[in-house]
């Protein structure tokens, strides 16, 4: 039914792509995501997938070709990172606006300038308003599970939006971890055949896709995209339940760790969560009532559920691995503020920016973060924004 093997995040993404066996993959290599398409193109060369692989000349063309392929009814996948995702920016919005269920693995990496190849979440955060569903992963297992579920979410008739599943650059993309991989036929059965969509190879029902919308229709079509994003919450939940039956692994919009009775908690995204869980354990052993929340699905953001889970915390630290450069806070902080504004008991909130450009996050950085929260709780006031682990 499944096997446990050690694989890197990139290998896990490539393996999932092999098992999904999409019709078309169009991609352009970029560090640290290169391996995904490298491994996958070998699958194509060896004839073990049915996929047609388009080795395009840029990420802009990668997403453009994905749009053409998906519009033609093909199940379509790609992968990228950082500058590549930034170069796709124009096309990300178009993929979502045309309601094309493209699936993309993104390896999160800092954006230039200065140029840097290591992890932070600025690339992903730059795509947060594009209409793509965004699912972040803490480890290799989650990356594998997320990209498989992404297919079903994207193609769900109530959703029909593109989905990106991400890993943290190098930390997950290049590090070996033991994970459980499903059998090929199990994955095939789970993803199934893509449900029929109107497409540009249907000559009996010719469509004009990408028409010019002016003042009289643009708003309605954008409203439909917003509606699809809202409806995706239910679809994501249903698909997670189905996946849980198959694997025993339960995925929610977020994961909580010792949060139920926590007075002090942090919220974060991605691979740092593992380190943070260790710190929570350590502080708990010292009698501190601490916990954490890890956001998995950033788009859509499940504001109501997040609020419910957080409203009894006394002091909350939001850890952003991307800066908002808005003179105040990072992007996750804004979401958490929005979630909590109507909470019955609003926690004290602090924002921490950490780990930019792959800056290592150690246990003492997380301890330091909690120290800030303890102090704020004691003094009844907060300071914003705190940069963790930077030379000021």
């Amino acid at each position: 039914m499944s096997i446990r093997v050690a694989k890197t995040g990139n290998e896990a993404f490539a393996e999932a792509m092999r098992q999904i066996n999409p019709d078309v993959v169009a991609a352009y290599p970029i560090t640290p995501a290169t391996e995904i398409v490298q491994i996958f193109s070998q699958f194509v060369a060896d004839g073990i997938v049915k996929t047609e692989y388009i080795a395009v000349e840029s990420e802009h063309s990668a997403m453009s070709a994905c749009i053409g392929a998906s519009a033609a009814g093909a199940r379509t996948m790609t992968g990228t990172s950082s500058q590549g995702l930034a170069l796709m920016w124009e096309m990300l919005y178009i993929a979502a606006g045309l309601r094309l269920p493209i699936i993309m693995s993104v390896v999160n990496r800092a954006l230039s300038s200065p140029i840097n190849i290591h992890c932070d979440h600025s690339d992903g955060m730059g795509a947060r308003d594009s209409g793509w569903i965004q699912i972040f992963s803490e480890n290799v297992q989650e990356a594998y599970d997320n990209i498989i579920q992404a297919v079903r979410i994207a193609e769900h008739p109530d959703v029909r939006l593109p989905v990106m599943a991400t890993t943290d650059g190098f930390i997950l993309s290049h590090c070996l971890e033991v994970a459980e991989f499903l059998d090929d036929d199990v994955v095939q059965k789970f993803v199934g055949d893509a449900p029929h969509r109107p497409n540009i190879l249907d000559f009996e029902n010719p469509i004009t896709l990408g028409a010019l919308d002016l003042q009289d229709y643009y708003f309605e079509h954008r409203r439909q995209v917003a509606e699809a994003m809202s409806k995706s919450i239910k679809a994501i939940d249903e698909i997670a339940s189905e996946y849980e039956k198959l694997t025993g692994r339960r995925y929610d919009f977020f994961e909580t760790y010792k949060l139920d009775d926590a007075e002090y908690a942090i919220i974060l995204i991605g691979s740092t969560t593992g380190t943070a869980k260790d710190v929570v354990d350590e502080l708990r052993s010292k009698g501190k009532k601490v916990g954490l929340m890890k956001i998995r699905v950033f788009r859509p953001f499940n504001y109501l559920k997040v609020r419910k889970a957080l409203e009894n915390v006394k002091v909350l630290g939001v850890m952003d691995r991307a800066d908002g450069l808005n003179s105040f806070c990072g992007p996750l902080y804004s979401e958490i503020c929005t979630s909590l504004y109507e909470a019955n008991n609003r926690p004290l909130l602090m924002n921490f920016i950490y780990g930019l450009g792959g800056r290592e996050v150690k246990e003492e950085d997380i301890e330091n973060t909690f120290e800030h929260l303890f102090r704020a709780g004691k003094e009844g006031k907060t300071v914003n924004t705190v940069y963790i682990g930077v030379r000021e």
Partner: protein, 307 residues
């Protein structure tokens, strides 16, 4: 090749109701190209006049599947659609023989779209790429492009007191495309329907990406009298500014040689964008343009002779 009567009987895939200007070349080009293809066609269009004028929601002039995504990427978009078709056909999910056509203006082809066009040509996707070339960014209001001829006044290369319009000569896109070793490249005009239809037939039978550069008059940007649109394209051929030729598997073939080569001023005097050149004081500049047109024409003749 079908007769014009046969063509007239074919079901139109680009139909009336679009909002292109009277006297615009793009509509004629689109209609001719679509009539010339007697198979199921998927059309892609770069952002530009043709796209915005033919697909104003909820209307469309395309009685065939159509996709527009952005400005610089119609070749990449159709690369994806064509690849999807190939795999779906292999899987037995589609049984038709489908032709893929990409339309781009000179902006979407020579400039912002050159990279994606080059990529698609190198990969060899089976599509016909048609550049409806009106020699400037007309959709945004007549800004110069690398296809704009020297001397033309545009809104970003205006004829002024010191500079007499665009200084540079146009880019030789045909040579660029031929350098990709594509199976078929051709230059034509809508003013000779038979030349255009013939070339579209050859192009769509080629194995790989084929490229057709069509001169497409713009009554607002050139500007010219709308009723002269087709005549102006024929005059461009007679002046050797726009030779009719094709390159089949790398071999050049001239399709028409004017009996008497007309001076470029014959072409210029029908268009407002060149009016300043015909005034006293610009003779030297005008002469430099004639020399370059002559040089390029001679070059082309040599290429055709060696074959």
């Amino acid at each position: 090749m079908p007769s014009i009567k046969d063509l007239a009987k074919r079901e139109a895939k680009f139909v009336s109701g679009h909002r292109l200007c009277p006297g615009c070349g793009a509509g004629v080009v689109a209609r001719h190209v679509m009539l010339a293809i007697d198979k199921p066609v998927v059309v892609g269009c770069a952002t530009g006049c043709l796209e915005v004028s033919s697909t104003i929601f909820p209307y469309t002039s395309w009685a065939t599947p159509f996709i527009h995504s952005a400005f610089e990427n119609v070749a990449a978009t159709i690369s994806g659609a064509e690849t999807a078709y190939r795999t779906l056909k292999k899987q037995g999910k589609i049984d038709k023989d489908v032709v893929f056509v990409a339309f781009g203006g000179d902006g979407g082809t020579y400039d912002i779209g050159l990279q994606s066009l080059s990529g698609a040509a190198e990969r060899g996707h089976k599509m016909l790429y048609v550049c409806y070339n009106n020699q400037a960014y007309m959709n945004t209001g007549v800004q110069r492009s690398s296809a704009t001829p020297r001397g033309a006044s545009t809104t970003t290369s205006p004829a002024g007191k010191v500079i007499p319009g665009k200084v540079q000569f146009s880019k030789d896109i045909m040579s660029i495309m031929v350098a990709h070793y594509i199976p078929y490249a051709a230059q034509t005009i809508p003013g000779r329907w038979n030349d255009l239809v013939n070339k579209v037939e050859k192009a769509t039978n080629a194995d790989g990406l084929s490229f057709i550069n069509v001169l497409s008059p713009c009554r607002l940007g050139w500007p010219h009298k709308p009723e002269l649109a087709m005549e102006i394209t024929r005059l461009a051929v007679e002046t050797c500014l726009w030779p009719l030729y094709e390159v089949i598997d790398g071999k050049y073939k001239l399709n028409y040689k004017p009996k008497e080569k007309k001076p470029i001023t014959e072409w210029f005097k029908l268009q407002g964008r060149f009016a300043h050149l015909l005034k006293p004081g610009n003779e030297h500049f005008l002469e430099s343009i004639q020399q370059e047109v002559d040089r390029r024409w001679e070059n082309l003749l040599k290429k055709c002779e060696t074959n």
